[in-house]
């Protein structure tokens, strides 16, 4: 080990061992860094959880066709003539077909309904999706957790697992949606994705119950392969003058998640940065206090021949180490407090969408780096101050 490293090591060690002399101010620095890290990790975990819920819902092998000049299901309308024409086409339109040549397709419509969670009076807006029988199978990673799928023509619903847990809905329960009662005949899992925030029922039954007979907002189709989306887009343009767009399910949800996740980050980062500025001022104060507390020790070792660099580096290392402790504490707290925490927001169909906060590796990395930056920036000036101690004066200020 080189002399300068040995000097820095021994001075850092002396700094760390002298921390009990300035315990309260050092602890306050650790806690302020922990708070900044915890808050930022919370916001980032929220954005990450929201993104995960939506992005995992989208498959590149499924196409969503929307009409009416909108890129959301709400406000979209697919004319019946278009659906009939598509179903009558026998050539390759980029969509998978079953044994009898029929397209793997689900006509769908979303209506918002108010549901009161068990034991509460306040209703919450949820998405009730009417779909064809093929609708569940078209979606990736969807499986029944309990019961069975709804029967065509019956007032039966299946409920996403996340929604079922939150609202206390179980197979066999009856729930009023709109003006009629529906029976829960099953629950489904979609690996925690946004689908689990929906209620599914037969399209025609939903249309009848909500006076929207014959209305179709979107078509979901299983593509022959992801690249076949271009074929479908071309065929749609050829069969109608109605403005229809075909997007992959993955792109549809990615776009939805991007807007909200950006909004969450837009609040999270400035708030965390403002807090970080405050914490940096705190770190600066703590480290100035540390230099002041160790004036005689620094002056003594420098009189013995220790370099300015070792005094500076040791002060800086102390700041970064204290910040690192704050980072670890903040990350541990955020993981305990936020990871897996259920949250909800208004999703793409103006209905409630539940998701799970995710304190992932990249969330920890970003929040942790901000915390370390507080130590690096807050320790810089005191590190310089440690090198500028006038030795003769410092030695006289009895330790």
């Amino acid at each position: 080990m080189s002399s300068i490293l040995r000097q820095t090591f021994v001075m850092t060690r002396a700094n760390i061992f002298s921390l009990p002399r300035r315990l309260s101010i050092s602890l306050s620095m650790v806690l302020s860094v922990a708070l900044v890290v915890c808050v930022l990790a919370g916001f980032l975990a929220m954005a990450k959880g929201f993104e995960t819920a939506l992005q995992s819902a989208g498959s590149p092998s499924v196409s969503v066709v929307l009409g009416g000049g909108t890129n959301q299901e709400t406000g979209s309308d697919i004319p019946a003539s278009v659906i009939r024409t598509l179903q009558a086409m026998t050539g390759d339109i980029g969509v998978k077909r079953v044994g009898d040549g029929a397209l793997v397709l689900s006509r769908e419509m979303v209506v918002t309904v108010e549901v009161k969670p068990v034991g509460t009076d306040a209703g919450r807006t949820l998405a009730l999706r009417g779909m064809d029988a093929a609708g569940a199978a078209i979606r990736d990673h969807v499986s029944l957790s309990d019961g069975r799928l709804f029967a065509p023509g019956a007032r039966e619903i299946v409920v996403g697992d996340r929604l079922g847990r939150e609202f206390g809905l179980r197979t066999g329960d009856s729930v009023r949606l709109g003006t009629v009662d529906w029976r829960v005949v099953g629950t489904f899992s979609a690996q925690g994705s946004a689908f689990e925030s929906e209620i599914w029922a037969d399209l025609d039954t939903v249309g009848a119950a909500f006076d929207r007979q014959g209305q179709v907002q979107s078509l979901r189709m299983r593509l022959a392969e992801p690249a076949a989306l271009a074929v479908l887009t071309r065929e749609l343009a050829a069969i109608t003058t109605t403005p229809l767009i075909a997007v992959s399910e993955a792109d549809l949800y990615a776009a939805q998640s991007e807007r909200t996740a950006s909004l969450i980050r837009l609040f999270g980062w400035p708030l965390s940065l403002l807090m970080a500025i405050g914490a940096t001022a705190g770190a600066l104060n703590t480290m100035m206090n540390s230099v002041s507390d160790r004036t005689v020790e620094i002056a003594t070792v420098r009189t013995l021949g220790f370099s300015r660099l070792s005094a500076s580096a040791a002060t800086w290392i102390e700041a970064v180490l204290l910040a690192a402790v704050g980072v670890l504490l903040g990350l541990a707290l955020s993981w305990l407090a936020f990871n897996g925490w259920q949250a909800s927001t208004i999703g793409g169909n103006n209905a409630r969408m539940a998701f799970q906060l995710a304190v992932t590796g990249d969330v920890m990395l970003r929040a942790g780096l901000l915390g370390l930056a507080i130590g690096v920036v807050g320790g810089a000036l005191p590190a310089i101050a440690a090198t500028r101690l006038p030795l003769a004066t410092a030695l006289r200020s009895r330790g």
Binding site: S3, G305, L391
Partner: protein
Amino acid sequence: MTTANHLEPYIQLSGISKAYAIGGETVPIFSSLDLKIPSGDFVAIMGPSGSGKSTLLNMLAGIDRPDAGCLRIGSSRLDQMGEAARASWRAHCMGIVFQFYNLLPMLTVAENVELPLLLKSLSARDRRGRVEKVLELVGLADRARQYPVSMSGGQQQRVGIARAIVADPALLLCDEPTGDLDRKSADEVLAMLRMLNREFGKTIVMVTHDPQAALHANRTLHLDKGAFIEERRAA
């Protein structure tokens, strides 16, 4: 330990001037101060407060620089050295004993004594060997693992002396080494300095207020108003 050559003037100050700016006013400490100390000498410097004793010691230690004049120690011109060069010179050529010991309380006795050796290219084993040797010399071999706070003032000052001599410097500077000690401890410390001077040929410059401490030196220089006004040689 090395034995110094007694014939050459080891420390030489010629025409040294030093002034401090205090409250916008320049206060002269020395003007044209001359001093020669041969190698292997033991010199006590006495004088009233404000006479410039500490400033002189700081300049000899390379932690302060004269405004003008020549300050030579051995073959080194301290007045011409930059901060880094003076730090390196301190590490290799000088040991210092402080009035209040200036031990690092969070390090053990052995670790405190080892500090100057960290600046040298020595293996951990060699450093340990040297530390053990000097602690034995100052009679604290059995206290190596203790912390300074658990020791008396006299013992702490012996640790300070061990730290000052562990790198085997030719020059030992002592700033009121007995100023914080009772008579008995002070006499032990002074006897140790005397032994280091006589047996190991260390050149020692000691600033003190204590006339009894000064009696242990070969000669005593009285400093007043920036000039040496009297010299007393030991009988």
